[in-house]
Amino acid sequence: MTTAQSLPTTTTRVPPAPKRGIRLTPAALIWPAMLYLILTTQVPFFMTVYYSFFRYNLVDPTSRPFIGLENYQNLLTDPQNLRILLNTVVLAGGTLILTLIIGGALALLLNRNFLGRALLRTLLISSFLVMPIVTAVIWKNMLLSPTSGLFAWVSQSFGQAPVDWLGQHPMLSVIMMITWEWTPFAALILLTGLQSLPDDQIEAARLDGASPWQEFQHIVLPHWMQAIQVVVLMETIALLQVYGEIYGSTSGGPGIATTNLPYFIYQKAFAEYNIGLASAAGVLTVIFTNILAVYLLRLISRTTASNRGG
């Protein structure tokens, strides 16, 4: 209980002089959080590195020999794994591009004045808040199912054969689901960016007789850059780790059509109990993501720095 609790939030009245007690230095304030994160992220990671050098399979409890880099070699020489890397990139990249385009269009549309705008804006965030597993089960069953799904009924109403979405276009189906989840995020961030655009710039451009496209190209887009960078960074972090949507809809199939890196590691570890190989794949994934992260983080620290330019 300190006397400081009843302090008003103005500078005119000042707290009484401190009693002698524990000295809190800034470093002491930062360390608990740092220590916590180091313990909960770095320790498991180094354990993963350790396991990756062993042949370690849970269903064979008798032996766990050290095999050096053999797990890595197996991973890097299996041509199938190139496809998995590609899946990861296609899934993240495809979703990112779609959310930027649809989200951008929505942001521009929502930036006009019309009846019910605030309500739409509020409701729009809904799909972003839905749990990934729920997304997967709704889409898989009630929308995409070729026998009783809604999409099948729509195409039958137009005299078309129902599309077996998850069988014939698995990757597209998963991208659709995740786009549905992430578009509101992109739309709202881009809308916020749009709203900080000074009116007079648009006005000036209009008076100069600029076409809407020129207006977009020369005024809106440059101003949007920061918001776009934020969307790209945040979505990349999230989309490289997509798991729940795949787990709940396609289980990585058919074949390996929708197996991305996280799902692949999950299968190796939890379906084949191959802890050694899964650990090696985990290490490679962490390295791959971090290379990407360093590059993107440079972007965002630049933007936040310029943001706080004061």
Partner: protein
């Protein structure tokens, strides 16, 4: 104000568990209808043993396997009773992951007396016994058989023989198939998983004359038998099956069949009871039964053998309470209870006890299929599953610890072939490499 009461409700929920001094056991099981019934009958168990709380973890087959294996293998001890398949029991027993039940029966003579171990079918008991010790008790046992829709057969002017061949089945399917009316010639498993599509595909391969490995553990997926079987499977399902077959496992096909959308379905015998149950099936009066189809190679291994069993993991600390539940849920008394609560004998867990098949009530209710089920289970010989000799046991699986991983991988590859993502030749080549790699790494191939 009602709003302020909400946290209170939560608090009582949180404290409710601590109020009674009872043992709580956690049971992991599959979300098959039979196990869901077992879960619903928990209050009946509590009438007999009021001091044992039962917690359930009910998951789809693939997920359940992963969770239990990981838990048992790492000795985490989350579960006091695990639902394990006949494939796992001997392997896990050898790994020392399961408690032998024989000493427990000796310790509890009163339970042993009412339980009547000798009533359990010898073939089923044998599959769960390792070195003279029983490691699990069967909840239900099954083989595979053919189900068909009599109305659709009549409409097409067809009759189903008692012992159909795969060629006949394909012809029937082509005549019944009418997708514009929402009717499909045949429904088969396509959902990837060693216990899903691979269980079915392996029986087909067997009866087409193929096998997973030869006597020297060389993989055989590149043989004509595999190619013929797989080509036949993919063509039949593509031409005369429902769309989206790669998402259909046992449960999905059961739904399609019971809605009257399939002309035929080849799958687990346990479905016979569900299809005859008015509360979940629309085709109670028109469902017909026949033996599993036979291919051009051999009748051997054309119908599988499987049982879901309850076992006690080594890592549990509540052995006694677990034993009480497991003997209750697989007892003759429990079978009577299901018949009473479900209102029909057709819905009892099948394939485990001689007394079930000699029971006049059961014969009356399940007469249409009980003989086929019993003879299929007795005919299924896990020790001689294929035309040519093999170094493993198991009809629709290979009895090595690595088969879960192998079957799941190959199951994914086969689903890829079914959906047209890969060609059949490519799929078989990938499967062949995979099977050889597993046999090599596990040290079977010399």
């Amino acid at each position: 104000m009602p709003r302020s009461r909400f946290p209170l409700v939560l608090l009582t929920l949180a404290l409710g568990g601590a109020a009674q001094a009872a043992t709580t056991i956690t049971i992991a099981t599959v979300n098959n209808p039979d196990m869901v019934t077992m879960q619903k009958l928990t209050p009946e168990f509590n009438k007999k043993y009021p001091d044992i709380n039962v917690k359930w973890v009910v998951l789809p087959e693939n997920e359940l396997r992963q969770k239990i294996t990981l838990d048992v293998a790492s000795g985490a001890g989350s579960f006091d009773i695990a639902t394990v398949g006949v494939y796992e029991v001997p392997i896990w027993a050898k790994n020392g992951w399961l408690d032998p039940l024989t000493p427990l029966f000796q310790k509890n003579p009163s339970i042993a007396a009412s339980y009547k171990l000798n009533d359990i079918l010898p073939s089923v008991r044998g599959a769960l016994t390792v070195n003279g010790q029983l490691y699990a008790v069967p909840f239900y046992a099954e083989s595979s058989m053919t189900f068909y829709n009599k109305d659709l057969f009549k409409k097409a002017g067809l009759t189903m023989p008692q012992n159909p061949t795969w060629q006949q089945i394909q012809t029937f399917a082509s005549k019944i198939h009418n997708p514009s009316q929402g009717v499909y010639g045949i429904c088969l498993r396509g959902l990837p998983g060693w216990g899903e599509n691979m269980a079915f595909i392996t029986t087909m391969v067997n009866t087409f004359g193929g096998r997973w490995y030869d006597q020297n553990w060389r993989a055989q997926l590149n043989t004509p038998a595999w190619k013929n079987a797989l080509t036949f499977y993919v063509n039949t399902l593509k031409k005369y099956g429902p769309p989206g077959a790669t998402s259909n496992g046992f449960t999905e096909n059961l739904t399609l069949m019971s809605q009257g959308k399939c002309g035929m379905w080849v799958d687990a015998t346990v479905a016979a009871g569900f299809l005859s149950d008015p509360s979940s099936s629309k085709i109670v009066n028109s469902v017909g039964f026949a033996n599993a189809p036979v291919g051009p190679g051999t009748p051997r291994g054309s119908n599988w053998f499987w049982s879901w069993n309850l076992a006690i993991p080594k890592s549990t600390k509540k052995e006694d309470a677990a034993f009480k539940f497991l003997t209750w849920a697989t007892s003759p008394e429990y079978i009577n209870l299901v018949a009473k609560t479900k209102g029909t004998w057709a819905a009892v867990p099948p394939g485990t006890r001689t007394s079930t098949y000699t029971n006049p009530n059961y014969k009356k209710a399940a007469g249409a299929f009980s003989n086929i089920v019993l003879s299929s289970i007795n005919r299924a010989d896990v020790t001689r599953p294929t035309k040519d000799p093999v170094p493993y046991t198991g009809i629709q699986y290979v009895s090595i610890p690595q088969f879960q991983a192998l079957g799941t991988r190959v199951g994914q590859i086969m689903a890829g072939a079914l959906s047209g993502q890969t060609s059949i030749d490519q799929a078989l080549k990938q499967g062949q490499d995979e099977a050889n790699r597993v046999a090599r790494e596990a040290g079977y191939q010399k």
